[in-house]
């Protein structure tokens, strides 16, 4: 873990943090649109076949990270905050995915 970024903080914030309210509104509308698409494709499971799940999960991740990066400012904020959050997120995904995986190998 490095704290080298500390000095840069003030500077960075000054540059990017002022997303205008309008851009936030635009992002929110985009997210609403993605949600609509998600719902729509959930009615087309059979048509989409193998594409369905990756597509749906992809859209979910786009929404997820949009909120994290922009609404929660993680993109512009100090790297230390990202580290704290992604450490937890990454561990959670890795560990629980592995756990669910073990249930599949069960048998002798």
């Amino acid at each position: 873990m490095s704290t080298e970024t500390a000095h840069a903080t003030e500077h960075d914030e000054a540059n990017h943090d002022h997303w205008s309210d309008l851009s936030y509104v635009r992002l929110a509308l985009a997210l609403a649109l993605i949600t609509a698409i998600e719902v729509a494709i959930s009615y087309k499971v059979d048509e989409l076949g193998a594409v369905f799940l990756p597509l749906l999960l992809g859209l979910m991740l786009v929404k997820f990270f949009s909120v994290v990066l922009f609404f929660m400012h993680l993109k512009f904020d100090n790297r230390l905050f990202s580290l704290m959050f992604y450490l937890g997120l990454g561990l959670a995904v890795a560990v629980y995915a592995a756990m669910l995986f073990t249930f599949r190998f069960f048998g002798s």
């Binding site: 936030y24 609403a32 719902v39 979910m60 929660m72 561990l91 959670a92 629980y96």
Partner: protein, 205 residues
């Protein structure tokens, strides 16, 4: 040699300020740590649901009880509350108390609407026969969404308390930061719902 391995990052330490070694706010750091920890909490609940989603009584599985249009609407409400929240934060940074309070209140209302929707959803599922203990599916579904609902409710209380404290001018320290912290929590609750909505509702059983 150790001493030179990492760049010395300690900021100038003035005598009376709030300077911290990294220049970051204690509170914000704590909030992000807490959210990192919450990932493992919700991860556990989501995994439990994923493991048990298929284990239900004949006619009371996800496909039978879900009301996707309704849930989509309440998801939309929660998503929009993230927007109003972020507007409150920018207002607070501009030291615009009036708009801060306005957007905080709207966020709280949207949040309450979402919780109300969840209560409605639960009761209608219940009427269809899906009780908390009906099946593994129902227990893990109610537990997961219940935990989320409790988080939203706590968020609503925090929002309203913040509004109250801003009105009475009782916030110790940095007002904008308090709003920002509440915002982080609120957005986190929103992203958890983004996961739940897709993983729980939209993926067919």
């Amino acid at each position: 040699m150790a001493d030179t391995a990492v760049h010395d990052a300690v900021a100038e330490h003035d005598d009376h300020g709030h300077a911290t070694s990294t220049g970051l706010s204690n509170n914000k750091l704590a909030m992000w740590l807490f959210l990192g920890s919450e990932c493992l909490l919700f991860g556990g609940l989501i995994s439990t649901y994923m493991l048990y989603r298929g284990r239900h009584t004949a006619n009371l599985g996800p496909d039978q009880v879900w009301d996707i249009p309704f849930t989509s609407a309440s998801s939309f409400v929660l998503l929009m509350s993230s927007l109003t929240m972020v507007l409150a934060v920018t207002a607070a940074k501009r030291k615009d108390d009036r708009n801060t309070n306005l957007w905080l209140t709207v966020t709280a209302i949207l949040g309450s609407l979402f919780v109300a929707g969840q209560v409605y959803e639960f009761t209608s599922f219940y009427r269809e026969g899906l009780g908390y203990t009906t099946s593994l599916f129902s227990s893990s579904f109610y537990t997961l969404t219940g935990f989320h609902g409790v988080h939203v409710s706590i968020g609503v209380i925090m929002l309203l308390a913040t509004v109250g404290m801003i009105l009475k001018n009782r916030i110790p320290g940095d007002k904008a930061e308090v709003v920002e912290l509440v915002g982080l929590y609120w957005h986190f609750v929103d992203i958890v719902w983004i996961l739940i909505f897709t993983l729980v509702y939209l993926i067919p059983a």
